[in-house]
Symmetry: C2
Subunit: 142 residues, 2 copies
DNA sequence: GCAAACTAGTCAGAACTTCTGACTATCATA
DNA sequence: TATGATAGTCAGAAGTTCTGACTAGTTTGC
């Protein structure tokens, strides 16, 4: 058992990355909360259903619906009918949402660059690769 | 920029580990919430101050105090005076708290074993090692 | 076809978590 | 010993998430 536990290490790394990106996006004038960003991040290019977003983000569909309401009101996403199923609606990123992504990406890349410089590019890439290979068993709703 | 992003990979790995351990601890009859467990995990052997717990868990000290109240009521921790500072009190794990830890540890180890088997022991150990080396810049309150 | 079971999403209400701001008690310092 | 800093709590509000019940639309099996 490593000390500190791998759990804490995963947690603090994720929290730091999330904090940096969210701070930057907010500083650029996009008013997003942590919970909103976690749903927003998981939107697929072609749009996602609420139920899928909920599973993917690990919250109930009521919660996902509530957060999508907020994102919609802020103009970051829109709901459109799902042509393949009249019960469902697709949540899609709007152009304003894409502007926020355009701010977030370079900040994320900057953090990765700092981490890679700190532990070495090779080890950083191995870290990302191993986590990606682990994903099938860590994220059943990938 | 990897796809999916490293942020999501860190998140899902942490969430899966946390879920497994928390499910197991609850199944053993210890009624703990996610927020409580996150504070509890960060207790030092000799006891921790509320302010330190708050910084380490990334919440305000009011929130940490509130969660410690709950943990105290459930019997997992106790508050004792800090001999070195009469303003402060130390939050310490009780014997009941230690029982919960005794349930959590093997579950955690089991998850690690599964992950190591899935990606290979060497890569798993590298993952843990790289995250540990990254910690100084991901966790200023280590 | 059509009734039964299932799925997508919402509504209502409660519980939990977290925050801001203000406050008391104690400590450190000059 | 006055001044500013620190540990922690209290009060109140906001944000997040849950359980349970519900409507509308889809799929399946007879």
């Amino acid at each position: 058992m490593p000390e500190p536990s791998l759990g804490i290490l995963l947690f603090v790394a994720h929290r730091e990355l999330e904090r940096r990106v969210l701070d930057g996006v907010r500083a650029a004038g996009f008013d997003v909360t942590l919970a909103q960003s976690r749903v927003f991040q998981r939107l697929d290019e072609g749009g996602s259903r609420i139920t899928h977003l909920a599973e993917s983000a690990g919250v109930t569909k009521q919660t996902a619906g509530y957060l999508v309401d907020q994102l919609e009101e802020a103009g970051f996403v829109e709901r459109v009918p799902d042509p393949s199923d009249a019960r469902a609606r697709l949540v899609r990123v709007t152009s304003r949402g894409r502007e926020a992504v355009a701010v977030a990406r370079p900040i994320e890349a900057q953090v990765y660059a700092e981490w890679a410089a700190y532990v070495g590019v090779r080890d950083f890439e191995r870290l990302a690769d191993t986590l990606a290979r682990l994903r099938p068993i860590t994220d059943p709703y990938a």
